[in-house]
Symmetry: C2
Subunit: 541 residues, 2 copies
């Protein structure tokens, strides 16, 4: 059940230990990876889709760097000349994030949101100094780790500021300490997820955090956006993993995490987690770690329909034990994901559940035995390890499909939400209808797929993938669909985001979600830590 | 293994379904319960301890009620005459909390901290109105559910205020909704823990929250102080159970908990949990619930010493599975708790671990099998169910011992802290030394006992019980010991409280713990929600 690659210290080698990738905006992932588009995907463009060739990033013209010379000089004084760049490639590489609208804009040659400067501080104190300088000169600051935001988290307001500086934390890339007794590690915020995992594996541990953005994203971004990884059933969400956090603000340092749990006032770690750069820049986190797994089983299960599958996931989430990975595709996603739908067993159709276990041999065996009994009792049928391994080994390939789809004239984007179990079916129906109606109304009837990938005792996330032929203005096309989905989500009383965060794109819905008084409280926190309002302005609050 | 009492809907009957108790301050618990002091406890007073008879509460003289007549009239208009009281019994019943210094002060006839009025609003809107009136007239407001604070959480600053009103939430005592699909329940904040459990058991569920203060405390207090119950290993801490929370503030309502988990900004529920009345009054919470247990096994285990026992608890917390109750007494506490030390097996001495399982039959059996294997492998020896049942059936009796101990001239008090596993042994030694030295230096060498009662993957709590002969001024005597312990805790880098909260007593240490910038951020939140600063002034921030 394990692949045949060699073992390394403390665990099975698997696809989660990957080389660091240098992406070339606007395209996702390792440029050496060639992605063949399946025919079923290419067909989504339909016969009439206009062609949308991408402008070569090197040919995109940028506005002149607007940061005042005295601010730039101060940054060079503080960091050294090599760490302050207005080079075209650096500015393009820090322009916006990786949402489909972000990509479409850059493909169309629009880089109006490019930062004026990209700085690469080497330490927490460097970052404090950058924040001081930018406060003095009223320059907006955007924290940047992997740059993979899909909600406009890297596109600050320019109005009222003398310029925008992207603070790339890539040089804060150390595993600072490992506490093997407490099973915690302190990681610098600029560590990419891939590299953090590599460093921990070398010591026999895993972080267990594998979001879809894994090849690009980093520790600081995980913390700032409350990321959730594909193994959240087993290892938890990122905000659940964090024991300590260090935040550099324009007014100095906030350091939290005296103890794992405490009754010493509100848990202020949870005020920094999810703050999306609005209060300052996270520079380090202390997280729980786990022995690297020695054993692994990933399997497929079939349920007759989404409701039956969801009830099974709910039972596991409420009664335990939990596998490491647990996800349920709806009927549409199940059919699309299977090259040959007959592979799902004698009965075609139905819904696929992926159930993955990682850990020590005894632990995997013990959990798996009980999970098998539960899923069988609830109407599931085992499909063997082939679908599980197919999902596992391809788990980071989905984002690679978007660029060739856009090339082919297919609009493709994802969105996600979360609610309580009792509200899940209505939420799924309402969002599906909203997306379908909004895009069909534009003459481009979509394919809407959905899965549950994160489950809790009280509820679960819904993740939607939408694909349809592009219109002449695909950014506007998607904006209408997204707006309809947001309205449906909020009308159903669900949260505007489960793990993509707020950024700019979810800001209005977020403010409605928490209400005006809570928003005022958040703004009061921001004013305290960032009196000049330079920290990622326009994002979150 | 279950007791022979009848079963009720959905679960075993046990001692956690208790009648509501009307305590008679300053004494703890059901007045009908007679507590015989064991000789070993009585002996702690030593031969020379002065006698400290308690003043009859009825004889304590109170300052005249200071609330301005127009504020009182407005409260009567809003709530009705019957819900606004300045009766002697009501004011005494809402004077301070249940720390030993609080009890000693009331026993000595000191009720200078009595509220001027006690009001009993019947709804969230009533509470909003009370906060408005008190803001207008600059009257301080103390929220009161069970009144069991042991950290001065019910003793507000009077300076600068026209009076103090205790807002007793006892009329907000409803189980509002049960969502059986999502396994959540919405409870009003004034529900006493005992009554909440009774209402849930009638529907086949349990909340699973059983703090030592269970007979007195209530839902609002649990939430405001981030309470942890004796079954935290199985059911989690109270702040972990909360999915939604409603806060009445002087500026209106904050309602949080759109979804169980979300990436929509910081988790603001965690800003209200632990806010100790400083931002307003919690009026309702939505919590996770669990099927009432049908099976139960409580057992004792012996380890050679505290270090071996702690290592075993750590292994369970890190590798699972967890029992429902897990606690380790140190050598001193183990010896004291055993009427006959020979009961702990052939080898006298050592440390007792209580391991309790509750749940469905399969679940209890499955977890227990693995836990037995783990504890045996780590050097534990099974002591059978007698010590487990003795602990379980006596679990709420410990607080009853304090009053007769004080009567007998014994000073007794508890304190608690929490840290990471790697720092636990040093913390225990430092606090024990600090307490021993501070009290021995006053001529009253103490008995210092310690246990671990709450474990996490990364760390654990330490709970100390201290007993020694009283001096002529026991409040001052304890203050010196507590101050020494606080210094030791902070010097060791641990948190000033694991589950007792901050109140007034931990305020300075708390401010040091979170640092000046985080404190400013908290104060900014308070100013936003409570601009006049009437909410529990002097507590927390």
């Amino acid at each position: 059940m394990c692949n045949d690659r060699s073992r390394e210290a403390g665990g099975v080698v698997d696809e989660t230990v990957l080389p660091a990738v240098t992406m070339q905006r606007p395209r996702w992932g390792d440029p050496a990876t060639v992605t063949e588009l399946p025919d079923v995907a290419r067909a989504l463009a339909g016969p009439d889709a206009p062609s949308h060739p991408a402008v070569d990033p090197a040919d995109i013209s940028l506005p002149e760097s607007a940061v005042p010379p005295e601010a730039r000089d101060a940054l060079v004084d503080a960091l050294g000349d090599a760490q302050v760049s207005d080079r075209h490639t650096d500015r393009i590489a820090h322009t916006r994030g990786y949402s489909t609208p972000d990509i479409l804009a850059l493909r169309a040659g629009n880089a109006t949101d490019a930062p004026d400067l990209v700085v690469t501080p080497g330490s927490h104190d460097d970052i404090l100094r950058v924040l001081e300088i930018c406060t003095e000169h009223r320059v907006a600051v955007v924290p940047f780790t992997g740059g993979t935001s899909v909600v406009g988290g890297l596109t600050p307001d320019r109005a009222g500021f003398a310029g925008v500086v992207s603070v790339d934390t890539r040089r804060l890339d150390k595993l600072l300490t490992v506490d093997e007794i407490s099973r915690t590690a302190t990681l610098q915020a600029g560590l990419r997820g891939v590299r953090a995992e590599e460093l921990l594996r070398a010591k026999g541990y895993t972080l267990g955090h594998f979001p879809q953005s894994y090849e690009g994203a980093g520790i600081g971004g995980y913390a700032a956006t409350r990321s959730a990884g594909q193994s959240s059933a087993g290892y938890g969400r990122f905000d659940d993993m964090v024991e300590g956090i260090v935040l550099a603000t324009p007014r100095g340092t906030v350091e939290l995490g005296t103890a794992p749990k405490s009754a010493a006032g509100p848990d202020l770690r949870q005020l920094v987690l999810g703050s999306e750069g609005a209060f300052g820049i996270i520079t380090a986190v202390t997280v729980r770690i786990h022995p690297a797994p020695t054993d692994r089983v990933f399997e497929g299960w079939r349920f007759d329909d989404f409701a039956a599958g969801a009830a099974a996931l709910r039972t596991l989430a409420q009664d335990g034990p939990m596998p490491t990975v647990l996800r349920l595709s709806d009927e549409t996603e199940t059919a699309i994901n299977l090259a040959d739908p007959s592979e799902i067993g004698a009965d075609a159709g139905g819904c696929m559940v992926i159930v993955g276990f990682e850990g020590g041999a005894d632990d995997v065996e013990r959990r798996r035995t009980t999970v098998i009994a539960t899923l069988t009792r609830l109407g599931g049928t085992q499909q063997g390890t082939a679908p599980g391994e197919a999902w596992r080994t391809g788990r980071f390939r989905a984002p690679y499909l978007r660029d060739p789809l856009l090339d082919a004239g297919v609009l493709v984007e994802t969105l996600e939400t979360v609610t309580y179990w009792s509200a899940l079916a209505d939420l799924k129906a309402a969002v599906t209808t909203a997306l379908t109606d909004a895009l069909t109304g534009q003459g481009t009837p979509p394919l809407v797929m959905c899965h549950i990938s994160h489950v809790y005792a009280a509820g679960a996330s819904l993740y939607f993938t939408v694909a349809c032929p592009q219109t002449a203005d695909p950014i506007r096309q998607w904006a209408a669909a997204k707006s309809a989905a947001n309205t449906a989500i909020r009308t159903q009383g669900a949260s505007i985001t489960h793990h993509h965060a707020v950024g700019r794109d979810h800001r209005d819905a977020y403010h409605e979600e928490i209400g005006p008084l809570a928003l005022e409280a958040l703004r009061a926190v921001k004013r305290t830590l960032d009196p000049a309002g330079i920290c990622n302005p326009g994002v979150l609050v």
